[in-house]
């Protein structure tokens, strides 16, 4: 997620989009929650510079994949909630399968078939 690796930009961007969509499957969430969920479920691997999440959220909203509303956070602060847009659930499946193919392909090239099949873990 580091912005320094510009050459990885496109792929990382897609991956980030996919992860955001994945976190929104469980329900509406605001930016901080999404960041925390990604951080925690990745066992703190994907942490730091969580601000770069926000342009991605706006991008997804522009594409119509998520929509948003202003509401109150758990701590009763004003927060902007995101939810998967209706009819866009299949986008996640599509993104996920594309990502799996990509990982498998990279894994094949790197000769790590087992991990490729198994995902990131």
């Amino acid at each position: 997620m580091s912005k320094k690796h510009h050459s990885d930009g496109e792929m990382l961007k897609d991956t980030l989009d996919m992860m955001i969509l994945r976190t929104l499957v469980t329900g509406d969430a605001h930016g901080h929650t999404i960041a925390k969920v990604i951080e925690r479920t990745s066992e703190d691997v994907l942490e730091g510079e969580q601000g770069s999440l926000y342009p991605a959220l706006h991008r997804l909203e522009d594409r119509g994949w998520v929509s948003s509303y202003w509401g109150a956070s758990e701590n009763n602060r004003k927060a902007k909630y995101r939810l998967s847009a209706a009819g866009r659930r299949r986008q996640l499946a599509r993104e996920t399968s594309r990502w799996r193919q990509m990982i498998r392909a990279i894994g094949l090239v790197m000769g790590e078939e087992a991990t490729a099949e198994g995902g990131t873990r």
Partner: protein
């Protein structure tokens, strides 16, 4: 979608800021909950977030349409730079507004008059047909497109199949008398054949067009134009079916033409059937040329093959009537060109003149921009060094010229709205004058013009100021001038072109002006000072017999001659310089008969009263004038003009000879006198004239009065009209003018184009001199240090003056030389518009050379003088 985002990006940014704040608050609260101190908690939250500014920038870029953004920035810069030098901007915008406005106006007129098809059904298949003589001498006299005689037209129509149909129309005029005591009025009318309106695809707005049975000599149907319908009959549709009186004869109104229908021109008031009022003899004649034939080509036939059919018919007719003026061939003309024949050439010349002016305007703005480019050289170099691409720099420059041209274009279009209205009302001969207006196509043209001008004016400076050399400015010290030399050379080149184009314009204008002055001063062969002219028409119904016409004419002349302030009165069918009138062929009794193929003698026919020549002071060369005894059956006498005598009686005395005039009567006339020549139209070659006594029973073609007065002739016009009204209150009087006005009217066209071209030329000269001054001032400011050094080394002031003067005069002189050479070729194109003036008229060339040199010297003098006044210490310290 992305556009919306682009314009809402500030809003998105604000929301993001809010979201970031919310994140920080949440994260800080979480950290505090974990037991971290508030200060530390906030710091960790910020670290977790990362660089919030870069996050915002990412989103901002994500939302930006780059091209638009760059354009907007360029625009902002351009507006700022232009606003910083309002003087320059104002001059540049004014120049462009003038040039674009003038070009747009001219284009509007050209489009309506020459380019826009007439609003008829499928106008591309319509052509005008004319009788055509093959020999070059007749063509010089304008017989290559001669109107058609009625019988020729009938034969063409009956015997050829290349055209869907042919229709004919002819000019006419009537006294329209009031039904309820309205003033009588002389109305211009046309006789149109029954099929003319269906052929053109025109339907009556009210009522119907003519029928077959009405298109006869005794036909008495009439159609009103919308103009007459509104003006005289109050737009009351019940007029259709009622009667009106033309020349005291009743005519039934069968229809009203639509408002847009102003063919053949807008002065036309009503239509009668083609054959109505024409004697059957005339309808059967092959040698009376007065009809205009419109034909619609069949879609499956080429014009050439259709014309060859008509040509064959005409050639047979020619052989059949060898001794009559029946042309051997036919020719066709585009219907638009036929309408615009008098104005086409002047219009095209004006269009060229105005295009030249536009070119000069663009060059001038380019020149100004180059100068500014020089002043901003450092800025451009710095921007380039900081990584701006050349294209970006050029785009910035082009935006500036585009902005100037856009503002100028906006002003120009407003200007052209006014100018076009003025043009179409001031230019009398323009056909379709009502149809001239600014519309979408014209605005499109103006837009194209704006972008072209922007490119023309901006590209050169943009290229020159952003080239590799531009970056040398960073290295250059204040004292080096080498970097500027190429730019100065560019400006001098622009200037040379500007001056060359100006010279061409000036010479064209000078020639037209000189021709106009010659035309004005042309000898009319008679007195024109203090002469009142007016036209009146004796309707055949009321003055049908020669006795009645003579009685009216003689009592009118007697009454007028008795009026105080009147010196003499001439009554005739036509006055000198007021048009072609009619002509007739004749043979000379005493000469051997014509050989086959020999040209039949032809002369203009005029009718005159005994006092005509004396009153107009046309000199008697031999024989005698008419007397009041040359009347009725003793009127078979003719007075001929000097050219008539020279052309047809070379080396002999025509007086006492007899001519057989080939008109309807085919009668013998005895030549009793020879008088001086008068032109039928000023500026046209004179033609032989024969005068018949008007007391023989009136003229064939209307009557004109010329009244010579002691003082201002117009002062007497009302008493004269009252005098006429006492004799016949139903008789309308028209064209009440002084003789000078009447002749001047025919010069209107020449005066107009000369004045306009001169106006454009003077403006161009002004632009060019401003350009010259600007370039020289700039050069001088660039060379201040150099001049200071020269002075310090002992150069005299007059040497410096010469140096700078010579520097400025060189492009002027080179431009002058190029312009003169170009004019020598280009002015050949306007040869046909020049009267008694050669395209290489030395006076005009000398005047232009003198003027250009004068103006150029003046423009150079100021900077040169300033250079010679430089304080050397000050100059050396500059910068």
């Amino acid at each position: 979608m992305s556009w919306l985002r682009f314009f809402l990006r500030s809003q998105a940014d604000a929301e993001l800021q809010e979201e970031i704040d919310a994140y920080l608050a949440e994260e800080t609260a979480e950290n505090i909950a974990r037991g971290v101190k508030p200060e530390e908690a906030r710091r960790r939250a910020r670290i977790m977030l990362g660089n919030s500014r870069s996050v915002r920038e990412t989103l901002w870029r994500q939302n930006t349409v780059f091209l638009v953004d760059a354009l907007g920035r360029d625009l902002k810069y351009a507006i700022r730079t232009l606003a910083r030098s309002p003087g320059f901007s104002l001059i540049a915008v004014t120049v462009m507004a003038l040039c674009i406005g003038a070009t747009t106006s001219l284009f509007t007129v050209v489009r309506s008059v020459l380019l826009r098809p007439l609003p008829f059904h499928d106008p591309s298949h319509l052509v005008m047909l004319f009788e055509h003589r093959r020999d070059p001498r007749s063509n010089q006299e304008g017989f290559n497109y001669n109107p058609v005689s009625p019988a020729d037209y009938f034969d063409w129509r009956a015997q050829t199949h290349g055209f869907e149909d042919m229709a004919a129309w002819r000019w006419s005029q009537f006294n329209l008398t009031g039904e309820r005591g309205e003033l009588p009025e002389l109305v211009i009318a046309c006789g149109g054949s029954r099929n003319l309106f269906p052929l053109l695809g025109v339907q009556a707005a009210i009522g119907r067009t003519f029928t077959e049975s009405e298109d006869r000599p005794d036909g008495n149907a009439v159609m009103l134009t919308w103009n007459l319908f509104e003006r005289r009959f109050g737009g009351d549709p019940s007029i259709v079916g009622r009667q009106i009186h033309l020349d005291a004869k009743p005519f039934t109104v069968v229809g009203v033409l639509p408002k847009w229908f102003t063919y053949p021109d807008a002065t036309l008031q009503l239509w009668v059937p083609y054959a109505a009022g024409l004697p059957p003899v005339l309808l059967g004649s092959h040698d009376r040329h007065f009809s205009h034939v419109v034909a619609r080509l069949r879609p499956d036939v080429s014009l050439a093959s259709a014309m060859s059919q008509v040509g064959a018919v005409q050639y047979r007719l020619h052989l059949q009537y060898l001794n009559a003026p029946v042309a051997e061939d036919v020719a066709s003309k585009n219907i638009n060109d036929d309408l615009a024949r008098d104005v086409k050439k002047p219009l095209l010349i004006l269009m060229c003149a105005v295009a030249c002016m536009l070119l000069i305007g663009c060059l001038n703005v380019a020149n100004l921009l180059v100068a500014r480019g020089a002043a901003r050289q450092k800025e451009v170099a710095v921007r380039g060094a900081l990584g701006a691409q050349r294209l970006t720099l050029m785009r910035a420059q082009l935006t500036e010229s585009l902005l100037i041209c856009l503002a100028g274009g906006g002003g120009g279009v407003l200007l052209s709205l006014a100018a076009t209205r003025w043009l179409s009302s001031a230019w009398k001969d323009l056909p379709n004058a009502e149809g001239i207006r600014v519309d979408g196509a014209v605005l499109g043209f103006a837009c194209a013009l704006v972008f072209m001008a922007a490119l023309l004016a901006g590209l050169l400076p943009a290229i020159s100021s952003t080239g590799k050399a531009a970056f040398a400015a960073l290295q250059a010290s204040a004292r080096t001038t080498s970097g500027n030399l190429s730019r100065a050379a560019l400006r001098k080149t622009l200037l040379t072109v500007e001056i060359a184009v100006t010279v061409v314009l000036l010479i064209g204008a000078g020639l037209l002006l000189r021709s106009f002055v010659r035309l004005r001063g042309a000898d009319v062969g008679c007195v024109t000072n203090n002469v009142l002219t007016l036209d009146l028409n004796l309707p055949a119904q009321k003055y049908g017999s020669p006795q009645k016409a003579n009685a009216f004419n003689e009592s009118l002349l007697e009454k007028l001659r008795a009026m105080p302030g009147i010196r003499a009165v001439a009554l005739g069918s036509n006055l000198p310089g007021e048009g072609f009138g009619s002509d007739d062929d004749f043979t000379i009794k005493e000469h051997p008969p014509l050989k086959p193929g020999e040209e039949i003698p032809d002369a203009l026919a005029r009718w005159a009263d005994p006092g005509y020549f004396g009153a107009l002071q046309i000199p008697l060369l031999s024989g005698r004038f008419f007397t009041s005894d040359d009347r009725l059956d003793r009127a078979r006498k003719v007075v001929v003009s000097s050219l008539f005598a020279r052309q047809y009686f070379p080396g002999e005395n025509p007086v006492g000879r007899t001519i057989l005039v080939l008109d309807q009567n085919n009668a013998n006339y005895e030549i009793i006198g020879v008088v001086g020549d008068t032109p039928w139209q000023v500026g046209q070659p004179i033609r032989p004239i024969m005068y018949f006594p008007i007391l023989g029973g009136g003229s064939e073609s209307g009557q004109s009065l010329a009244i010579r007065t002691d003082s201002d002739p117009l002062a007497i016009s009302v008493p004269v009209q009252k005098q006429i009204a006492t004799l016949d209150p139903e008789l309308p009087v028209s064209n009440v003018l002084t003789m000078q006005q009447a002749i001047g009217d025919s010069l209107g066209n020449a005066r107009f184009s000369a004045a306009l071209v001169l106006g454009f030329a003077v403006l161009s000269l002004l632009l060019a001199s401003v350009g010259l001054y600007g370039v020289l001032s700039y050069l001088m400011s660039q060379r201040t240090t150099e001049l200071g050094v020269r002075m310090a080394l002992g150069a005299q002031r007059d040497q410096l003056l010469r140096l700078i003067l010579f520097d400025g005069m060189r492009p002027a002189i080179i431009g002058l030389a190029i312009g003169l050479a170009a004019s020598a070729g280009i002015t050949q194109l306007i040869r046909s518009m020049l009267y008694d003036t050669r395209p290489l008229d030395p006076a005009v060339y000398i005047a232009v050379i003198f003027t250009v040199l004068m103006v150029a010297t003046l423009a150079c003098m100021i900077p040169a003088w300033r250079a010679s006044r430089l304080d050397p210490m000050h100059a050396l310290r500059a910068e």
